[in-house]
Symmetry: C5
């Protein structure tokens, strides 16, 4: 479920974004508090060893090590690599969402060519709608953990009313070891082709127009599949992750308070290092959350909500709202 | 209402952009003066405590703290993260505006296929136009605070002439708990389908052509809805906000004037820190202003103006300017 | 008029881009020499005051101030913010130009469906072409200073042959307080609809095909209008401008030569600061020049040239070159 | 074969990306371990020479050299140039993959217009499918090493069933020294044109609709070819490669431990330099892996898998699943 | 002719990109060796003057100057501005290439509607193909130096068989002072319109379909023209060039070896400065090479090769391969 906060900042105002820092759900704090605790514990152990367990010679060595680490942490361009990587991930995340197919357009248009409120016409339109939604469920199951959890087997899809048991039987007979999300769409095509041949769809244009929409719908399903199949190369993700973890690994030593360093007060708690941790680790978590936008993070796209919405709207479009419109009247501005 | 300033800088000229710094409406000063005052007050309090309340030992400690903060403020890559974040927000902001649907194209085209100046034809065209505008109002109400304020209830939409009370009744009977902006567009489709069946639209092509435009209009409404539903992940916004506020939090201490630092004159006012405040906080405000482009900021899109424009132009297109053109004449260059 | 220099650097060659530095028209020197002079004068005055007017104590204070300013100028990330801002402006600038509508495509296609060299057909085609060009002039007048200067009133548009006085009369009778660029396009639509009804356009496809092109033309006019209406938010431009001017304000003091600083020779002229001025101010001027690409800068799009080109080509397409083609012959490679 | 890891990080979780660091296949370690060994050996040799072979004067000279190198390594903006370059490569890599043509859409649509389960119709549809796949193989052979290895000669294509020997004969008779991937698509066009003339395709629209899809398929084949023909200019790749290798060349000397440098402990192993090596060299390897996405890297697109998938799905679409759909029934929600 | 190197790095491998550094054609060395020599000579002269010609006082002054220059070279953000500028140029370069029109799609489609192997049909198809190629030559002549060199006059175009002398005569009679690349396309349109009227093209759809492709072809020719007409503003190119040359101008002095500087060995050759020169100047040359992608650089698009390819393929499409397809047979997998 995405976190909606834009209304809180609908207008730029005093301390606008600042107020967002109080949120917990979907927040940076929730995402990184465990890592922060681990970091603090490790920092504290090293600090205690230095303060309590080392003798003078060991301390001098440790101090040299701290100075050395401190210099080199600055050589790791964490912000740079995070900037480019997160840009890439955010771009992908959004395109991925924009490519989730919506059945609305197809059903709108079908409604103008496959008319009639008799039982057969209604059944035809509902069947096409069901097939489209079934394809959508099939493809979303393969890309989204939460959809898979909701519809783990074909029985669940039958129970939800997307397919009948007979249809599932036919589906499973299709001999293809690859993702078969396209099978219900082929049926939808065939149903419409039959309807055209029988003259239920009267217009050749309309027939083409509807087929075109279904083909576009299929293309978007296919794009969903491709985005899921091909992800950002592992090596890029590793390089970025390494940079961040290396940086904080070095900070564990380099940011220790040591004696004999001018002008650095002993604060016990490495305040600024923790802020950097919050910042860089939070930035990395943005990427982690978005790399699989169909997961179960607080901020992931809620595909189950979308499926429910599509089902309700689809049934309205092809059946309940079909062929019905208010009587034509003159509007209030009619001269 | 967007701030129009491009004519003031139509040509690159002496001190071109410099002259823009005098503006107040929509300006960076207006957006951040409150934060600036808070920052100054807090800075002054800390300064006074140091100058007046601390004893010598406390002062030495404070001076160490200042030096420490001063070093670490430079470790926060504020400009970097702001650069990437604002790029993202600006890109989204513009795409969002470009996806606000305009009814013009549909109405132009309908005018060529649903001709005739008799009452029925006029009523048909006006009704389709009204339904499109009603959908637009319904979707804009859900994304824009100012449109919601103008049309808080269905009665206001009736009063404005977008829908009749009977239509609102039918609308409310549609059983769908999700956003129902698409209902008037289904009606528009049905009205046109009826007009085609009755032969008022004579051309099958024309019928398809108009339906296609309405489908595109609906898609854009849907895109508006999606952009509003899915926003930049909260965690990204938090990370950026944290970076900026952390930076100025550290500046409150790190940029204090302290004794015993060579070559730093006591200016009382931290001039450069205030400039940095103006600059970074202003940059953050760019994001704050654009993250919800349909709000009520000085620089937000004025959706109510656009609705008025669409209503006037739509009525001209479907009615007042319809079927009318100047007599064909030879132009002045006709041999 | 855009500056064409790409042929001078058609091939990467010895000192390739270096040779461009000699240009004056549209050059960075021409754009910033006034600011440079102002900067130099102010720098000289401060320098003279320091060298001639201050006593020893004042000089020590001034030297402290110089050191202080010098440190903080480096804290302003001018190049960063300019990089992102100019990227944004350049992207917008190009999209804006690519959206200027060209009438060619529509007129090409109309030529295949509205055939015949009789007077009526010619008049029809010329009228549609005129109406398209008139719409283009009307929209360009509202976005481009130079087009507005050329056609300040409707009379000028009549004189140029885009509209007849009768047409202007009808245009002015349209009751719409918003930009009415779309009125001639509605006429074009109506003229074509009439031609189709009278059978002058024989093909229903062709009719739709031409209407589609005009609708696309209108959409692009509308996009032109929108790009002009909604510009980069003022606050972003202010933030960038502030950064640059702040930087050079601080340089006026921070880059002064002062005594007692090791290893800095007294060069009298702040050579590198001037180079930086040339560089950063030049970069800002890129933005200033492109933010309104239809202005009168040396490098702005020459809309009047484009209008002349469109008029000539349009008349050729719809009239002089219409229905004429060389006799079909076997080409030299015909076996 | 692309590395699929997104499910391991489906939700942002404790140490999310950190767990990816353990992977070997497609990992940064696998890609750069050889370079790392070479770097370490060279570093060790230089270190041993300094520690064991140099006399005191030579050591002082060497120490000067180390200090000198150390300063200048920081002048090479490796992260900057890598950031921009890798962004470019990643953008290209993805566009390239999205342009690999899929035959599905064409075959879907053909199925609605070229109906019938008689032998001739089936043969027609299967032939068009085969020709499309043959074109795809021909184009992929020229861009992908692994496809070329699988189908090195026309005989292999015959054996796989894409073309018959007679077809290969005709193919080879086409007199064109350029890539002839388009020949089977011309045949597909001609086969369909004949089918239309013979009335097997009944609808003129359908005919156009299918031709359009094949034309789009051909365009994408052509785009594949173009992306392969025109690559990122060599000089850009060289500049980036130079920057990285120069940097580590300088590190070989500049990061040597030398005596007499305050606060640098003798760690024997240049720990941070190795981390930097892992990081920068890994980033460069991202580019190296993606610049030819159809190669045989662990993370390259698996074109052979895709060809197999297309073959199976194509045969289902045009034959096995054709004209078959479940009986129309009322769904469970049918009132 | 573009440099093809991607096969050398088809897989990420040991020293992958490193091996590219040996190339000469299209390499960074070839592009900048002249500038490097000039730089070295100037550096050597200054070095010799310092070492041999100056007296002690002058040397102290020079040393001050060196220190001063050395500090300020670091203030010029060369890598930053180059990163943004080269990104822009590379994006443009690729879009420009992707917009070069290919005649294939049009000719494919025409082949399905303008059928028949009689002389008249062949002549018609060949003529349309010739006219398209002639337009392409005309537009490429105006954007590409190498095409202009190959076809400097209309006679060369006649000799190459794109146009006949009679056609050139008609072309030159068209009264239009602007680029007339569109004239042959108007003829192509007219030829097809005549063929439709005479019933040689039987299908109204097919006619529209082919016209649409020619219109798209024309649009792309027009885009080519526009990309050539409007280039990156001169001032941006100047700013970037200035930054790079300023930087190396300052390096000529600032990187001189001087006595009395601790820890800098006298290497005589400014090794790292040369590496920086190679790097930054090489990056600038990337831009220089790509700003006019149709020039004669080693890495420019080879338009003459493309024209030859188009001619051969076009003749095959419209004539030699037309109406011919292998006999329909059952494929090996046909059950």
């Amino acid at each position: 479920m995405t976190i909606i906060y834009q209304y809180k900042v609908a207008s730029a105002s005093f301390l606008g974004f600042f107020r967002l820092l109080k949120a917990w759900r979907g927040s940076v704090y929730k995402l990184i508090y465990k890592e922060t605790i681990v970091f603090c514990v490790m920092y504290a152990i090293i600090s205690l060893v230095y303060r309590l367990a080392l003798n003078a010679t060991q301390r001098r060595l440790f101090e040299q090590l701290v100075a050395y680490c401190n210099i080199y942490t600055n050589l790791i361009p964490v912000s740079f690599v995070l900037g480019f990587y997160v840009s890439l991930i955010v771009g992908r995340w959004w395109t991925q969402f924009m490519n989730v197919p919506w059945p609305d357009r197809t059903l709108y248009i079908m409604g103008s060519y496959l008319v009639g409120r008799d039982e057969n016409s209604r059944m035809l339109r509902r069947t096409v709608a069901r097939y489209m939604l079934a394809s959508l469920v099939l493809i979303l199951r393969s890309v989204s953990v939460s959809v898979m959890k909701r519809y783990p087997t074909m029985e669940h899809i039958v129970d939800a009313g997307f397919l009948t048991p007979a249809e599932v039987g036919m589906f499973e007979n299709v001999n293809c070891k690859y993702n078969k999300f396209w099978v219900p769409l082929v049926w939808a095509n065939t149903v419409l082709t039959t309807a055209r041949r029988e003259g239920i769809i009267e217009s050749e244009y309309g027939f083409k127009f509807v087929l075109e929409q279904i083909a576009d719908f299929r293309d978007r399903c296919s794009t969903c599949f491709v985005y899921d199949w091909i992800t950002i190369p592992l090596v890029y993700t590793q390089v970025v992750t390494l940079a961040v973890y290396m940086f904080f690994g070095a900070c564990l030593i380099g940011r220790q308070y040591v004696e004999n360093v001018a002008d650095v007060p002993d604060l016990y708690i490495p305040f600024f290092t923790l802020l950097q941790f919050l910042f860089y680790m939070g930035w990395l978590k943005v990427a982690e959350q978005l790399i699989n936008p169909f997961g179960e993070d607080d901020d992931d796209f809620d595909m189950n909500w979308l499926l429910d919405r599509h089902f309700t709207v689809a049934m309205n479009l092809v059946d309940y709202c079909h062929s019905v419109h208010p009587p034509l009247v003159k509007d209030v501005h009619f001269d």
